[in-house]
Subunit: 136 residues, 2 copies
């Protein structure tokens, strides 16, 4: 059993976030010492590591909630896990697409802007135009 700061160090999360995850019910409330200090077992450490991994892949807390349930369900079908992952991949794709559009438009503007001492600036001009920008 270890305290929260150790659990944080070993899991790669912050103490703050571990408490937060408990608050929002992503993890069960940790056991407490008589003084009220949270205590973490190695099983809980693994869970925290799982969460950090999932977060680093961009899964939301809600998605991780589902992932944890699957993780803890010995009768799961890997199909369900894969389904969640594929769904998340789609979200990542959409985000990428949005970023790419921005990048393309901005790159174009930047290329056409002299970038000198003159006040004439395509970027300002185009942002000022009533036309669309491709994101609505």
């Amino acid at each position: 059993m270890m305290r929260i700061s150790e659990a944080a160090q070993h899991s790669g999360l912050s103490s703050k976030m571990i408490r937060h995850y408990e608050d929002v019910g992503l993890i069960q409330a940790a056991a407490r010492t008589e003084a009220g200090y949270r205590q973490y077992s190695s099983a809980q450490l693994e869970q925290l590591g799982f969460i950090r991994h999932a977060r680093s892949l961009g899964f939301s807390i809600a998605q991780i909630r589902d992932l944890l349930q699957l993780r803890d369900n010995p009768h799961r079908a890997s199909r369900e896990v894969k389904q969640l992952a594929l769904q998340h991949l789609q979200e990542l794709d959409q985000r990428m697409l949005a970023l790419k559009k921005m990048q393309a438009m901005l790159n174009d503007l930047v290329a056409r802007c002299a970038g000198d001492d003159s006040p004439d600036c395509v970027i300002i001009d185009e942002l000022s135009e009533p036309g669309v920008t491709g994101n609505e």
Copy 2:
């Protein structure tokens, strides 16, 4: 002079956000009718359109603050505008890089997961491993 909902329609922003932008000082407080209704001129409409364009390119409110100042400064150097745009492009790049990493890792996991009725699942297994995920 038009009311906020018309200004919203013409600019592509929501009434809500126009008020918000006023709150945070991105735009000057609009004139009011005797009854307290906000009134927008065509010059202000252009400014709102500018903001929407900039937002659709992913510029933050803080960045748009700077862009608006440059827009309104006849003595600006386009270099400064370009500088802001390039900086934002870098941020977009970083975000895209992060997404790409996630995509790559997740794609790999998904490819190695059977996705059938069996509980065996590479995704769960790898998320459970103590190893790194490449994002820390």
